[in-house]
């Protein structure tokens, strides 16, 4: 199967676990508009976390947060208590850890139950603006809506690779 054909099942699994995380763990209402869009360009928000999904898959995952939403998630994740000084550092850490938890749980619903899939530790980037598709790639994107803003979930795969 070509990697691009794996993008939708991978992203739908991630969307499902992201909704579960927001609703059950963060007690935050969340709505998926039901659309998986193939796009030419991803517009990134202030904080974006990236995880490389490797091994038997070969997919880049980007999760980009609206500021207010990430601020709220950070407070909830840190049990609400933190000094002003540590907030910025904790926010970056929370962005990475939330992506890590969502992908880590979503793996079991990946094609072939995620067997042989590896993950890099998450990397969070700040103030990046966009990612542009090249001819040999496909970008698939989905949005989760919450009362505090959106999370955009994106996967990028190569049209040349074959998955196992």
């Amino acid at each position: 199967m070509e990697q691009v054909q794996l993008l939708k099942p991978v992203l739908s699994s991630i969307v499902r676990y992201a909704e579960h995380f927001l609703v059950d763990e963060m007690q935050m209402s969340s709505r998926f508009d039901g659309e998986y869009r193939s796009v030419e360009k991803i517009f990134l928000k202030k904080h974006t976390t990236m995880v490389w999904i490797g091994g038997t898959l070969n997919v880049l995952f980007y999760m980009t947060y609206d500021d207010l939403l990430l601020d709220n998630l950070t407070h909830m994740f840190a049990y609400g208590e933190m000094g002003v000084d540590e907030f910025h550092t904790l926010r970056e850490s929370a962005a990475g850890e939330i992506a890590n938890i969502i992908i880590g749980h979503a793996i079991v619903d990946f094609p072939n139950k995620g067997k042989g899939v590896t993950l890099t530790p998450p990397v969070t980037i700040e103030d990046a603006k966009s990612i542009i598709k090249t001819p040999a790639t496909q970008i698939l994107t989905a949005s989760l809506l919450t009362p505090y803003g959106n999370i955009e979930l994106n996967v990028i795969g190569s049209t040349n690779d074959k998955g196992e």
């Binding site: 763990e25 950070t74 994740f77 840190a78 049990y79 550092t89 904790l90 850490s93 929370a94 990475g96 850890e97 890590n100 938890i101 992908i103 880590g104 749980h105 793996i107 079991v108 995620g114 067997k115 899939v117 993950l119 890099t120 530790p121």
Partner: protein, 148 residues
């Protein structure tokens, strides 16, 4: 009270674990960001108990568990991971971990895991209860002894 070493590359997870463990009356004697740091700190502090992440830079948690168990066969290590994959967890247990917990961490689950590894250790909840029980015993028993 246990001396605990926390190993995780995530600052917010280290912070949360530290709060939970200290609120339960344990002492966090060190925090490591990767497997290599964990081994150094283990050698230095000889903690009673280690919480270990799996996916970390430099050296992952499974390698670190193997090395720590090589240094100390009695080491007590619980894996704390976001991976729902069975083979990762089985790999960690085969490396010598005493158990595992899935992130996000739930306070009661962590306390339960500690109780399984250390059945004779009390956390603060049971310690407070024990103190109350002791006070009641003193009130009842001491006058009786005094009257004898």
């Amino acid at each position: 009270m246990l001396k605990v070493l926390i190993v995780d590359d995530s600052l917010i997870i280290r912070r949360n674990l530290s709060k939970i463990l200290e609120s339960a009356g344990h002492r966090v004697i060190g925090e490591a960001k990767d497997g290599k740091e964990a081994i150094e700190l283990y050698r230095h502090y000889k903690p009673d108990f280690v919480t270990m992440d799996i996916t970390m830079p430099e050296m992952d948690g499974i390698m670190a568990v193997k090395e720590i168990k090589r240094l100390d066969k009695q080491a007590k290590i619980i894996m704390i991971t976001s991976h729902g994959q069975e083979d990762m967890v089985i790999g960690a247990i085969h490396s010598g971990a005493s158990g595992y917990l899935l992130k996000p961490i739930r306070i009661e689950k962590l306390r339960e895991s500690i109780r399984k590894v250390f059945p004779n250790i009390t956390d603060d909840t049971s310690a407070v209860q024990q103190q109350l029980d002791d006070e009641e015993i003193e009130e009842i028993v001491l006058p009786k002894i005094a009257g004898e």
